[in-house]
Amino acid sequence: MIELKNVKKTYPNGVTALNGIDIHIDSGEFVYLVGQSGAGKSTFIKLIFREEMASSGDIYINNRDLSTMKWKDVPHLRREIGVVYQDFKLLPKMTVYENVAFALEVVEESPRQIRKRVMEVLDQVGLKNKARFIPDELSGGEQQRVAIARAIANYPKLLIADEPTGNLDPDTSWEIMKILEEINATGTTIIMATHSKDIVNTIKRRVIAVEGGLVVRDQHRGDYGYED
């Protein structure tokens, strides 16, 4: 499902964030991406999402070749991928319901489908009863759950999360992890960049460690491997 071959990324300012990455991730896997600050985790995620383009090497997502992909096809790639960020990226003036519905409007779903699906995913993240709230009226964890609901609304085959628990307290983080595990159990591939030793060492999954733009460890049921 995801294949990276000798991928390098040098930003226009000359910083080389990734320096020859080879990774293969199968459908349905749950992968932690760990490594110190500046190691290149976010860069990796941006390449998958085509927010940035690789300087060299090949990237295949769902059999799409990202290096030859035309700009007009990028939206279609993104519709197959859900993203969750540390800072939630919700629209502050819209209700929870509208925030999620927004993602479906963009792909021109029918209003009936939208209503049905929004309530479905809000139920999945346990926020059905807060559909009419605006983000400011929610806790951090709840906001992140809205972001996850939005990310999975369009039935993505792949969910990528860049430090989804980065702004949350431990208890709330576990809530989020439980939801991500449930999503993974339905067959969705998940890639999650994180700094949380607790999470990685407790919920044991595949761990890919990045250092200085290189994969230094790729371990099934691995450890976090760094001191906090």
Binding site: E51, K72, P75, H76, L77, R78, R79, V83, K89, L91, F102, A103, E105, V106, V107, E108, S110, P111, R150, N154
Partner: protein, 299 residues
Amino acid sequence: MDMKIRTFKRHFREGLKNTWRNNWMTLASVAAVTTTLLLVATFLVLMFNLNHVADALEEDVQMKVLVDLTADEDETEALGDELNALNNIESVEFSSRDEELEGLISSMGEQGDSWGLQDEDNPLNDAYVVRANEPQDTIEIAEEIEQMDSVERVNYGQDVVQNLFTFNNYARNIGLVLIVALLFTAIFLISNTIKITIMARRREIEIMKLVGATNWFIRWPFFVEGLLLGVLGSIVPISILTVGYYYLDQNAAAVNQFEFIQILPFYPFIFQLAAIILAIGAGIGIWGSVMSVRKFLKV
């Protein structure tokens, strides 16, 4: 582009909403469009009328080919054939020396009569009156005719015509340059005003891109907004021009002593002008608006 009606409605609603929500910016943009269009419209009125007058003056330009006094009938006829054979010629008319004299006398009015010119020996030449298809070609054609046999001279008011053409060309080009410059200024102003409002909508656009919106999906509401700004901005200029031109048209006849200078009639000119202004307004609105999102789409 197959867009669902539902999506089209959404874009329209979003465009309206944004126009309304950013009311101060909307006002600023509309003011920019209004000012520009007023200037452009005034220029257009001037230019169209100048062109109209210039065309009329140019239409009056004709060449008088004076036939050599020594030429006999055959040679005169041969010249006529040669003139008729020219390209770019609208008409050739023969005017005998007697007709020429009559024309001269009648143009002098009473004075001509009192001089008793008709009694004396007619000193004038036979002549051909030639009109060019394109008045602007007159000078060139005149030079060509002067090379022909049995031609004494070609008169077409050389100095006046040359100046007229030069002036008209300058006026047209300067007008055009000014209008284009004004339009670009307006586009720049609008795009900058909208850019300020986009900053607030930046996050929205970012998230739209995140969830896989196409660029056109994001652009359409801005397209609608630009169109709206342009149309709103053309209301005042069109109204002012309609009223102004109506008064001008009503009073022009009274003021105008030179019959050859006639402004374009109110109807249908004002409708054409309104259509042009509306189109320009919509055009710069849309362009300015769509241009301002460009930067944010490159993610």
